[in-house]
Structures are given as structure tokens and as C-alpha cells.
Amino acid sequence: MRSVFGKVVGSLVGEEVASAHCDGPCGVYDPASARIAAEASLSMTKKMLALEMPSSGDGHAMAAYMNSMARYIAIKEEQTHLAKAELLVLWTDYFKPHHLEAYPNLHDTFWKAGKLCSAVKVEVSLQHAQELMDAIKEIHEIFWATKGRDVPWTTSS
């Protein structure tokens, strides 16, 4: 009611807009960056589990196998760490105390997502990699709700 009154008065007499923002990049946060990194981790986990070890006598095949596995491991490690960093930035920079009032489980959701990042790095777990994606989906829904926008959850693969 109060906001409607303010809107009417503002449109009648003309209103200015003044910025009460926190910082320059305030408007460009997006959980998509964490999602892309976590999706890469999920993909690497799948690739690691699907890779078949060559017969022990074939040196070339063994080198290629080790090379592929090492690359998957490196990418999983790097991308999961990136997902964790992106989540941390979103959690500590974008979300404000009034968001926590509206979403009391916010801290718990981020904390669990961070823990899942650690698990995905340490383990080769399809279950935890998928649970990380689910946690980021939950964050995606809260994030866009705070902006009053209906942005569908999409994945790259």
C-alpha cells in the first residue's frame, strides 16, 4: 500500500533516482558462473569413471590413458575450486542481511554447497558432483527470486 502511494506521488511530481549500491559490479552477479564450473566437474567425474585402463603391456596406450586421466583430474580440481570461489563471492558480496531474513536457510545452503565442492575435489563421486549441481540450482532459484525475475535453470550439457 505504502509503495503504491509512493509510486503515485513519485509519478505525479516526478522523481529522481539515487544510487545506494554497494559497488560497481553490483548488478552483474550470476550463479551461472558457479554452475558452469560445477558442470565441468560433473563432466570430468563422468569421464574419469568411464575411462578404461589399457592392457598393461601397451606402453603407448598406457601413456595416453595416464595423460587423459591426469587431465580429467586436473580439470576437475581446478573447476571445482573455481565453483567454490564463485559461490563464495556470491554468498559474501551479493547477498545482504535482508535476503537472509527472507531466506533463513541461505547460509546453510551455501555452506553445504561449499562442503560439496570439497567432496567433489577429494572424491570421484558422481553422487556428490550431482548434489553440487542440485545445491547450485537451489541457489540459482533464491538468487533470481531476490531479483524478482523468473530465470529458468539451464545446463550446458
Binding site: 511530481v13 522523481e15 539515487a18 544510487s19 545506494a20 554497494c22 560497481g24
Partner: protein
Amino acid sequence: MDDIELSLAIPRCSWRELLLLVVRRRRVCRVDGSSMHPALSDGDRVLYEPTSACVVGDVVLAQHPFVSGLKLIKRVEALDAEGRVTLRGDAGLASTDSRGFGSVASEAILGRLTSRL
């Protein structure tokens, strides 16, 4: 704690304030952003008195020192002897203010917030 919060709060618009708006002694401004939480929320509309006079504790409308046309809403944290004004957002950990862009000249103060619509 309650007393501190009460003193920081912007009062609700009175009939007197509306009358002053009608005779152009007040102007309307919409708050964009959350750096003045909890006193002001994103989307709040406020009335301000066009003046460069302010005291410590006032919430003011100010011209950003380095971005032409960008107006800010911040609280006056300090006034020095040379007339420079230190601005700060109430949401101390999430505000771009004088901690980043330094103090502003008193001429940069465009108005003093008087009430919330």
C-alpha cells in the same frame, strides 16, 4: 540498540511533508540499491529538502565526485573544518562511499532526506 536504530530511521511522511512537497520545498527520490539498509530499502521513495546544509547523522542526496550525473544516497559521517563531507552507507560492509571515493565538497550535497513515502 533499539534507541540507536530508532535515531537512524527516516521518519514516515507527514501531512506537513506532503504540503511542503506541493509547494516545491520537497522533492521525491527513489532509492536504487541496498547500501542504506536497514534505514532504507531498495525501491523506497523518499522526500528530500533541496539544500547543501547538513549535519552529522543526516541522510543526504549527493553528487558522486567522479561519475557525472550519478546521485548517491548516503549518511553524513563527518564534516571537517574545510567543509568537506564524509559519506557512509548504513550497510557498512556493502557500501561504496567515502571510504572508497574520499570526502566530497559541501556543494556536492544536493539535499537532505526528510521523510519516507
